[in-house]
Symmetry: C2
Subunit: 198 residues, 2 copies
């Protein structure tokens, strides 16, 4: 998102995380800006009875966990490496200093937040619909369009397990399995040896 050379100029450090490692957790005060240079990261919460909810999945080039940098609050969720990955980290103070000196980067950040808010809003209303099939399709379309930027039908090969889809939609694995099969029958999805295409 922010140009890498600028991040380095302001003192960013490069960090490495192995698949499954936690980058930060929701208990912590937010003190750094993070931007991915390699790999994938997910942000998630666990509710009272241990069920996971995936807030979002972030790819190379994207930043995550910025919102709390603009106020004195904790992270809204945990961040965990979905694959081995490489991340640039910049302290909150330096991040804000960078934005001050580079208004065009500030505008990019604002635009990124706005975009995310936009889709969170759309998702909120879509997910309030109870029908599992509807919820699944909307989440998949969101990932397809706005995370991977794919347009062609069935061009999106999901590398998500049914469990992960469940965690993204707030449903149960069994429900996701049944719903995806039903969606395949309706021609909304394709399943080729267990892999999902949308």
């Amino acid at each position: 998102m922010i140009q890498e050379h600028l991040l380095y100029l302001f003192g960013a450090e490069k960090l490495f995380f192995l698949k499954g490692e936690q980058i930060f957790n929701e208990e912590q005060q937010a003190v750094s800006y993070y931007q991915i240079t390699k790999g994938e990261v997910k942000m998630n919460n666990f509710n009272d009875d241990g069920k996971e909810f995936i807030q979002g999945i972030f790819l190379k080039g994207q930043s995550f966990g910025e919102p709390p940098l603009f106020s004195e609050v904790k992270y809204p969720a945990n961040a965990e490496a979905l694959t081995d990955c490489e991340v640039l980290r910049l302290s909150k103070e330096r991040f804000l200093a960078l934005l001050k000196v580079h208004p065009e980067e500030h505008l990019k950040i604002t635009a990124a937040l706005a975009k995310r808010l936009y889709y969170k809003a759309i998702m909120a209303s879509e997910l309030s619909s109870q029908e599992p099939e509807h919820r699944i399709l909307r989440v998949l379309d969101y990932l397809k369009d706005h995370v991977h930027n794919l347009k062609e039908p069935f061009s999106f090969e999901l590398d998500l397990t049914r469990q992960q889809i469940a965690d993204l939609t707030g449903l149960r694995v069994e429900t996701v399995i049944r719903a995806t099969k039903s969606l395949e029958k309706k021609g909304e999805l394709k399943i080729k040896n267990r892999k999902l295409y949308r």
Copy 2:
């Protein structure tokens, strides 16, 4: 949010809406910044079968509908006057010009977006929990803490109908009626001649 005199300086106009009037709808391209000087506004969507979902409620001093001003998209929801109200409107171009000239106002906007994103994220995970009572409490607490800034127990007198609570939580009226009664029994809510207190 943005200082009023600045808005006027950049050519904002004052508009009046009657209770129930629509300020913009989700079909429209976003072309203006809006800030409330009197009254309340809600943003909502209607899903395929006509069920309403309330995205948020905004009070005097707050702005709404800004996210799409940072990209070329439509509004994520409709905006409707909840009470008679007075609103300042500034065109997108002038709004962006204002931010350019006044970085401190830009930062305020970014912070506001960040804050909203933060709570949308928390809400998303809370609302993925299926239990109606939990969903209702979380929405009410959100309104109490972050819209009305109230802290004392039962200091928040809801001026929402059961139907509106249903629309905020994605539940049905009957479910809300039953759940609120159950919550009262548990001491989580108070009901004084049909009015809810939290």
